[in-house]
Symmetry: C2
Subunit: 324 residues, 2 copies
């Protein structure tokens, strides 16, 4: 049996069909056009899946189901996207609407949950059952996998790992609170801190590397400047490692996963990120070496994690031969 995975983003609808070994057999994408009504976007999702099925010569009897990863607050139990700032959706009954086009099973989850599931099924955490994934991007998404399944929380609005306050009254967060993890470990936060450090230290390499224009600061420059020996950049990077390790230690003290996976732009470009976090982690986790301290790994599936994870919201029973 095959499964379709749809990764709904702020820019594009990405769709793919995978086999029982999580291999992408075909994939396609289309612009989402966030200004359109949700019904039109959902109709396009159906068109994309039908196109892929045609490409592969499949009929619906070969499709075990369709999984969709969406940004925002997703109520997986009832199949409704409660709210998504990125795509301007509110209370969209996605499972029901998409169900108008297909008779197979349809499931939805938050996009970070899907990325986590993808990495557990086919990526950096393959062969483990319990993992936490953090996407370090514009914001911070979190995915929790327990016993090989997405943990959504017991009611809508759980698993929001980016919105745990770590410095009470600290930096303002998009969620309305202050000091959330997202405001310290997102790429946005790193860039903000690098800009501030550069502004306060005109001679820092941070300024040179963005050509003296702070608006050109990106998530790579602080690491590059630190590597070149710049003291100010080193401090920015060390602080970032501290924030990230403290956040990860918090999740470990709650979940004790088999592995922690870091994903997103920051992590793709920085080889020593996981090592640095691991070094801090052994001191920070409750119980020290009396308890289990999980390894930290970078995600490996890149842009495919969400699609593969979304498809894996649909469970198929693999035959013995395929498992071996």
């Amino acid at each position: 049996m095959y499964r379709a995975g749809i990764d709904l983003g702020g820019t594009n609808i990405k769709a793919g069909i995978i086999d029982e070994n999580h291999k992408i057999l075909a994939q396609t994408s289309a612009p989402i056009g966030v200004e359109r009504p949700a019904e039109e976007v959902i109709a396009d999702m159906a068109v994309l899946v039908r196109q892929l099925m045609d490409t592969l010569g499949m009929d619906e009897s070969m499709l075990a189901g369709i999984g969709v990863g969406c940004p925002g607050l997703v109520d997986a139990d009832v199949g409704v996207v409660r709210y998504s700032n990125n795509i301007s959706w509110e209370n969209v009954a996605l499972v029901k609407e998409l169900g108008n086009y297909f008779s197979c099973e349809i499931r939805i989850s938050n996009d970070a949950n899907c990325a986590a599931l993808g990495e557990v099924k086919a990526g950096a955490a393959k062969n483990v059952s319990n993992a936490i994934l953090l996407t370090l991007g514009t914001g911070v998404g979190g995915g929790i996998i327990l016993d090989g399944k997405v943990f959504e929380g017991s009611n809508a609005g759980g698993a929001e790992l980016g919105h745990i306050s770590m410095i009470l009254g600290g930096e303002p967060c998009t969620c309305g609170r202050r000091g959330c993890v997202e405001t310290y470990v997102s790429a946005t936060a790193l860039i903000r801190d690098a800009k501030r450090a550069a502004a306060a230290n005109k001679k820092s390499l941070l300024n040179q590397m963005c050509g003296g224009v702070l608006e050109h600061m990106n998530g790579r420059i602080p690491f590059d400047a630190a590597l070149a020996g710049d003291k100010v950049a080193k401090e920015v990077v060390e602080n970032y490692y501290t924030y990230l390790a403290e956040a990860v230690a918090n999740y470990v003290n709650i979940f004790r996963p088999d592995v922690v996976i870091l994903a997103g732009g920051v992590c793709n470009r920085i080889g020593c990120l996981t090592t640095s976090v691991e070094e801090h982690l052994s001191f920070l986790c409750y119980g020290g070496d009396r308890a289990f301290v999980p390894p930290v790994r970078c995600a490996i599936l890149g842009n495919h994690a969400g699609m593969i994870g979304a498809a894996n919201l649909i469970t198929v029973h693999r035959s013995r031969e395929q498992n071996e």
Copy 2:
């Protein structure tokens, strides 16, 4: 079938036998004597359970199993208490050792987990399946119940809700980190903050109420002084509510439980604690009213929660008549 529950504390071993409706049929206790070898303590645990069985005229065929709640880092999967500062245990194979005295099933868990399970099965969260419990005492214990079962984390050292940093670099914690939830919302933390406020404001009612001796400060005085209109005490109490609500909001953003339960000395004496936390919570939780914001309740089982919860580590299948 009956079940035995043992609540191992820093001072006493408490044991009880409950029926399928969670009613305590008989209970007893003995001093733990923390200076003794673990083997002796475990032998006493067996004696206590045998005494209770004799009292009830039970033989072991009527005992479905024995559950034990222990302070500290408990590896429930392998039945070992990894480390407990309170009772000076390290790597004690409790399930194996206690198994020398009984042939029935034996299970162990952390004491806060047991208290949470007790409240879910027979107390403040009866009839719900998903709950978070916080015990606000000398430290802060946390229990997580998912689908009616204790969530231990995927490896030893999970569910340590008191050891989540909420003010990075803040007050020193017994775990070695700084700024953990425990260092702001425990009764110990409240008393520390009240002492500091009293020392800095000699005319505050806080000083009068502890007879001018700060060592006599307790967890009740700040609330009493605030109620009497003392401005300094009001600030201490408001800060405490803020800390507690921020911590609870963090757990809600991760777990979205059906209910949050507060337990321990502070909560027993203060009627408006849950209301105050609930008021903050509706603003703090991710998604606001688009997501589910759980009610906050005080625990109702008191000292029995741990014992009833420990007994409920053993699952029995209730007959239809008993369920109705």
